[in-house]
């Protein structure tokens, strides 16, 4: 297992380099360092001298990927790409174009993101799986039909509707919790109830249908018929056998998103004024802050790779037939 993990980590290096190259190419395809300087300097009264000064100060006065004026390795290392990317592999994200510490921002913002994402994820998972098992149990009955119609309807509604509708109903009409905002410690609960509730309700359609399909497929297998034929109670059949055997596809979809919970949700954080990481990347793109964009893309790809490795590891826990090779 250890060798397998080492191998996967080594595979991750070229992937991360590739992601960096693509991010760099895409970013500088639409923005030039001059554009970045003009935006940072405010757009009014910007002189060519000020643009050059900004670029020199921020390290954007070098060639982008190849420095023909230098010799040897410096042709590659004395470039914007190398200077801005190399240190990320030791998780030194440097500073944004506004001079602020990106690492500090990430460390500060990930907690509010987690405060919403983790309860939404756990409560949602429990609800979706329970609901899906219920529908699977009562398949082909009016309950199943009603449940499926409910799920399809829920899937068809925009997440924005849930947010605005939830805020209107719970916070404005019933005045039960604040519409938006955030606080630290235990005082955070009143700000988290509504986004978590909306997050769970908003995901019920797609997730329940997905899990229901998995469970129904599993319930048609021979071992389930055998279990019933032996006279096992339905609860034992469902939770002891069906759920356990359906865990592989469930884990495939679930474990991979766990690390990405750090990255937060853009719309939810924006509407509820949650100071998380979700909006950080979008703000950086709007501000043409390459430092933050590359850091967030790097972090996102890294966490995704971690999620995939964790998924592989989790397979061995739920299915003894799976081996690391």
């Amino acid at each position: 297992m250890f060798g397998y993990l080492i191998r996967r980590v080594l595979y991750a290096v070229p992937i991360l380099v590739g992601v960096n190259v693509i991010t760099f190419a895409l970013f500088f395809f639409v923005n030039s360092p001059d554009d970045m300087a003009r935006l940072a300097l405010g757009g009014k009264h910007v002189t060519a001298e000020a643009v050059e000064k900004w670029k020199a100060d921020k390290g954007y006065d070098r060639p982008l990927i190849f420095n023909a004026a230098r010799e040897g390795m410096a042709q590659v290392t004395d470039t914007v790409f190398f200077q801005k990317s190399a240190r990320m592999f030791v998780f030194d994200f440097g500073r944004g174009d506004d001079g602020r510490d990106i690492g500090y921002e990430i460390r500060t913002r990930m907690w509010p993101s987690l405060a919403i994402a983790v309860p939404t994820f756990l409560v949602g998972l429990a609800c979706y799986i329970s609901f899906a098992l219920l529908l699977a149990l009562f398949r082909a009955t009016y309950l199943d039909l009603a449940g499926v119609i409910l799920c399809v309807t829920a899937m068809s509604i925009s997440s924005l509707f849930y947010i605005i509708g939830g805020q209107y109903l719970v916070s404005k009409l019933w005045n039960l919790v604040p519409i938006s905002g955030y606080d630290t410690g235990l005082d955070a609960w009143k700000f988290l109830v509504l986004p978590v509730l909306i997050g769970v309700v908003g995901g019920v359609g797609a997730s329940t249908r997905w899990y229901r399909t998995i469970f129904i497929e599993e319930m048609h297998k021979d071992y389930v018929r055998t279990a019933r034929a032996k006279g096992l109670p339905e609860s034992r059949v469902l939770f002891g056998h069906v759920l356990r055997n359906a865990l592989i596809p469930v884990l495939t979809g679930v474990v991979v998103v766990i690390p990405a919970l750090f990255l937060g949700s853009l719309i939810m954080e924006s509407f509820f004024a949650i100071p998380g990481l979700g909006s950080y990347t979008i703000e950086a793109i709007n501000n043409q802050d390459y430092g933050v964009v590359r850091a967030m893309v790097f972090l996102g790809s890294f966490l995704y790779i971690v999620g995939l490795v964790l998924t592989d590891v989790s397979y061995t826990l739920v299915d003894p037939r799976v081996r690391f090779e």
């Binding site: 019933w174 039960l176 604040p178």
Partner: protein, 719 residues
């Protein structure tokens, strides 16, 4: 269901434990306190006064820093009054030989101007660790080892603070900071053209900084600027090249606020956390100081205990007394103890929280416009019944801004000063109905522009005297846009009868270059196309991203574009320079995006820019406007109007488009606010509890069926 009931009961009990409305987003200990609540939608990037320029930055720095001058809060037209200075600065003009010239001397004879500023004694900085001293008088936190500093994660963790009196040298220090090689002041380029010796000073500093470690403390006092002299503890002089009367307006901006060198020495020490900097924690002498800077969530300003106070103005413009704006005349400011600004990115939650009483003031978004105000047939704006019942007040003001549709004068089709080009542009100006644009896209919030100068700026004329006769007729006491037939006639005279190029026989196609995207951009683009179709002109909209759009303007390859300009200061020079030939964007890096160059206009501009306001200057501005109406380098768009709503508990709020330091004038009535909040936000848990039984009934068949299945046998019982 038992779990749901339990949860609801616990939640209800927890919420009932809170006093007051359950949906109050603020801590219970703030209830009833003299706090003003506001919001910001975009995080400030820079709070260092040498860099902060955007509105979302200056709304904070203007409350903290104290430049020599400020704008009178109530008077219109805008008027400069002393702030840190004890009187308005005097300007002395000198010729090339160093001889003093009279005040009304023509600008051509002036070689240099010296501004003498004296500041009031007894102004003290806010409490700050940079000023903390030990018993022996040495600094407590400056010059300490890096390890000792690295343990502090925020400014509030420093145990000791101190203060000192403001000195004239602090203003001189800040002017030096404009040239700092690691700071990027947006006005350095402009000021280096005026302040004597600033450019040379910047070069010396750049050389000195070349070998210094990044972000280390740079001793700015190693060199001096020729044009900045400290003449005493409370006086200094600034020498500028030539005559530039608008320079005094810059002295009312945070760029010229005092900054103590101790602050920079303190922040730029090895070991200091990256986010403990002057860009993050300002150090000022103004009425407020920043005590919390968490731009991801909230920014808090609190009363500066060392601010000696400032009397509320005792005179204003007509109507101010009746509006209650002089009720506090002579009382010492600031009135509010604390201001809490919360990050609120979306307009819907902001608006709803305003209605609930959790924000004290709000603008009006397009979504909520109809439920908020009604516009009568005569154009009068009235609050809706619901808003009036809530005690909400409406304030309207026209911005010191102009949005315009510009024509690139270098373009072979749309440009040029010949009759063909003029008539083509005049025809387009008539066809593009700016009143309709304001009505459709801004809910009527704005007034059609008759020239570049917005109301409130010297030279702007209301009524018939200011009408653009090329586009409007004056009928029954109001400006009426000329009929489309006249535009068509002009088009024919330009050589494009019915939109066909007489020379080629092909339809004339013109191009609108824009960075407008999304549904709003698309609908605007469609609207412009429709406008030109009225005169049978084909408009092709070339949408692109902001960078490419700006590049087109810089290269002079755009044809028709839409831009806007917000005044830096209330002087006609700050608008007319947008059409000054030498400031062409394509031939330099100026702000004249139309690349308009008319020698007569340029000569008048050169005269007007250095004149004091008066009849002679007004006559020149009238002539300049007439030239612009004829040449039509712009289709003068509109001046946006701002609508602001305030609750009944907010007093002394008057829109001021020049002054950003309005917080100190505002007064609130916290008791009334508490009362209204309680009335507006009674918790209504009933619907949730009522929803429980139907859910239980709907779910009831599930356990019944489950039990039946569990009890059923594999085969049906034999009968």
């Amino acid at each position: 269901m038992r779990a749901l009931d339990t949860f609801l009961l616990i939640a209800a009990a927890a919420l009932a434990g809170c006093q007051g409305p359950w949906n109050n987003p603020y801590p219970a200990e703030e209830r009833g306190r003299n706090i003003l609540y506001s919001a910001f939608s975009e995080q400030p990037k820079h709070l260092d006064p040498v860099q902060s320029y955007f509105e979302n930055e200056i709304q904070f720095t203007a409350q903290i820093y104290m430049p020599p001058l400020q704008y009178h809060y109530l008077k219109r037209p805008y008027e400069l009054v002393p702030f840190a200075a004890d009187r308005l600065p005097t300007a002395t003009y000198y010729d090339a030989g160093g001889r003093v010239l009279p005040q009304d001397v023509p600008a051509a004879r002036v070689a240099r101007t010296v501004y003498r500023v004296t500041i009031r004694p007894g102004i003290y900085y806010q409490p700050h660790p940079a000023f903390a001293t030990k018993a022996d008088g040495t600094s407590r936190y400056i010059g300490v080892p890096a390890q000792a500093l690295s343990r502090y994660r925020s400014l509030g963790e420093f145990e000791h603070t101190g203060t000192r009196e403001l000195r004239a040298a602090d203003f001189a220090y800040q002017i030096k900071r404009l040239a700092h090689p690691w700071l990027h002041s947006p006005i350095y380029g402009l000021m280096s053209g005026y302040i004597v010796g600033l450019k040379g000073y910047a070069e010396k500093l750049r050389e000195a900084a070349a070998d210094a470690p990044r972000n280390a403390y740079l001793d700015l006092d190693r060199f001096e600027i020729d044009g900045v002299t400290v003449t005493g503890p409370y006086s200094f002089e600034i020498t500028i090249e030539g005559k530039y009367p608008q320079f005094v307006y810059w002295l009312a901006m945070p760029f010229f606020s005092p900054v103590p060198h101790e602050a920079e020495r303190f922040y730029r020490q090895p070991g200091m956390q990256a986010n403990i900097s002057l860009d993050w924690y300002p150090v000022g002498t103004g009425p407020y100081m920043m005590t919390v800077n968490n731009p991801n969530r909230s920014i808090v300003l609190e009363r500066n205990p060392n601010f000696a106070g400032e009397p509320y103005p005792d005179e204003g413009e007509p109507g101010d007394r009746e509006a209650g704006l002089l009720d506090d005349a002579g009382r010492m400011m600031p009135f509010v103890d604390k201001a809490v600004y919360s990050l609120e990115r979306e307009s819907i939650p902001y608006w709803n929280k305003f209605l609930q009483g959790y924000y004290d003031a709000s603008g009006i978004s397009s979504d909520s416009f109809d439920q908020t105000v009604s516009v009568s047939a005569t154009g009068d704006v009235q609050l809706s019944e619901d808003m009036s019942r809530r005690g909400i007040q409406l304030q309207t003001s026209v911005s010191a801004s102009t949005i315009y549709m510009g024509f690139n004068m270098l373009d072979p089709v749309i440009g040029g000063l010949d009759e063909r080009g003029r008539k083509l542009r005049q025809a387009i100006s008539i066809a593009v109905d700016m009143e309709e644009l304001v009505s459709i896209f801004r809910n009527g919030r704005g007034i059609a522009a008759q020239g570049p100068l917005p109301p409130g700026i010297f030279g702007h004329r209301d009524g018939e005297a200011g009408v653009n006769r090329q586009v409007y007729d004056w009928i029954d006491g109001r400006a009426v846009r000329k009929p489309v037939q006249e535009a068509k006639a002009l088009l024919a005279q330009a050589g494009y009868p019915d939109g066909i190029d007489a020379a080629t026989g092909k339809p004339l196609v013109v191009y609108l270059d824009t960075a407008m995207v999304g549904p709003e951009g698309k609908s605007r683009a469609d609207w412009f196309t429709k406008q030109l179709r009225k005169i049978n002109l084909q408009l092709v909209v070339r949408s692109t991203d902001l960078n490419r759009f700006q590049e087109k303007l810089r290269n002079g390859t755009a044809q028709i574009y839409v831009l806007g300009w917000n005044a830096d200061y209330p002087d006609p020079e700050n608008f007319m320079f947008l059409l000054h030939g030498p400031q062409s964007r394509a031939h330099g890096s100026g702000e004249n995006a139309s690349n308009y160059a008319n020698p007569e206009f340029d000569a008048l501009f050169e005269r007007m820019r250095n004149m004091e306001n008066g009849p002679e200057r007004l006559a020149i501005i009238d002539r300049m406007n007439a030239i612009l109406h004829r040449d039509a380098p712009w289709s003068f768009g509109f001046h946006p109007a701002d609508y602001t709503l305030t609750h009944a508990w907010v007093h002394n709020r008057k829109p001021n488009k020049m002054a950003n330091n309005g917080l100190k004038y505002q007064r609130i009535d916290p008791a009334l606010r508490e009362q209204r909040r309680a009335e507006c936000n009674p918790p209504v848990p009933g619907p949730l509890l009522l929803a429980a039984p139907p859910v239980a009934i709907a779910m009831h068949p599930a356990p019944v069926t489950w039990r039946r299945r569990e009890r059923a046998s594999a085969l049906p019982a034999r009968g």
